[in-house]
Symmetry: C2
Subunit: 127 residues, 2 copies
Amino acid sequence: MKYIEKLRKSGLRPTKQRLQICEVLFNREKTFHFTINELEQKIKNHTSSKISLATVYNTVHAFEKKGYLKQIPINSSETYFDTNVTDHHHFYDLKEEKLIDLENSDVGPINILKKLTEKRLNQLKFL
Amino acid sequence: MKYIEKLRKSGLRPTKQRLQICEVLFNREKTFHFTINELEQKIKNHTSSKISLATVYNTVHAFEKKGYLKQIPINSSETYFDTNVTDHHHFYDLKEEKLIDLENSDVGPINILKKLTEKRLNQLKFL
DNA sequence: TTAGCAGTTTATAATGATTCTAAAAAAGTG
DNA sequence: CACTTTTTTAGAATCATTATAAACTGCTAA
C-alpha cells in the first residue's frame, strides 16, 4: 500500500482504519469536499468492515493536523473538509448549496489597501 | 422610541423585548460583531428585566431576515452576527481570535478570472 | 373599549454534530 | 514473547441551536 509510508513519515501508525480512509480520501483523480457524515457513507460503500464514527473524527482531525486535509471555514451545521490542501479560494453556491473551488490563478490578486503591518497580515484569515 | 416605526414598517410588532434588543444592538456609534451569548450578556447589563434565550434567538433571526443583521460565515462553534450590514469583507485574526471588518474600499477589486456566467456569479458567496 | 385573532414570548424538551471517556485491541520495540 | 504506547471503539456527555406548546401581548374591527 502506498499510504503506509506516508502515514509512518507523519508519525501516524498505519492502521487498517487509517489506510481505508486514505483510500477513500486520496485514491482518486480529483480533490473533493466532504462532511464527516458524507465521508462515513463513502467508507461504508468502499469497505465491508465498519469503522467507528469516533475513529472517523479522530482520523480526519489527525490528517488535518498533518496538513493532508483542510477545514473549510463555512458556516454550516456540519464542518466541511477539503482534500485540496493547496492555497486556494472557495465560493459557496447559494442556490445549489455546494462549494466550488477557485484556484488562486482563477482569482486576481486581492489587494489590501488599508494599512496593516506585515506581521498583522500574516495572522489574518480572509473570509 | 425611534425603533417602533422601524419595526412596524418591517412587519415586526414592536414588543418590549425587541425594543430592548434594538437599543443594545443599534443605539451606538460603531457597528460590532457578536454571538448570541455575548448579546445575552449585553442585554443583561442593559436592562433589569430578563429576556428568554429563545426570544434572543428568535429576534436575531427575525432581524437577520429583515436585513438588520448579517450572519458572518465563520466556522466556529458559535454563530457570529454583524450589525454592519453593508457589503464588506471580514478578516479573522488567528492570534487574537477575533473578527476584523474591512470595508470594500479597504480591499482592492477581486477579479474572477475563470469564466463563469453572470447569473452563476450572482449566486456565489466568496469565502 | 373590548373581544378575539394573530403574532410573540417563554420554559423546557429535543436535536444533532462533535468531543470525551475508559476499556479493549493493535502496533511498535527490544 | 513481554511490554509500552497508540489507536479504536461504544456509549455518554456537551453545547449551540431549534422545536414545542402553553401563556401572553399587540392590534384591529365592531
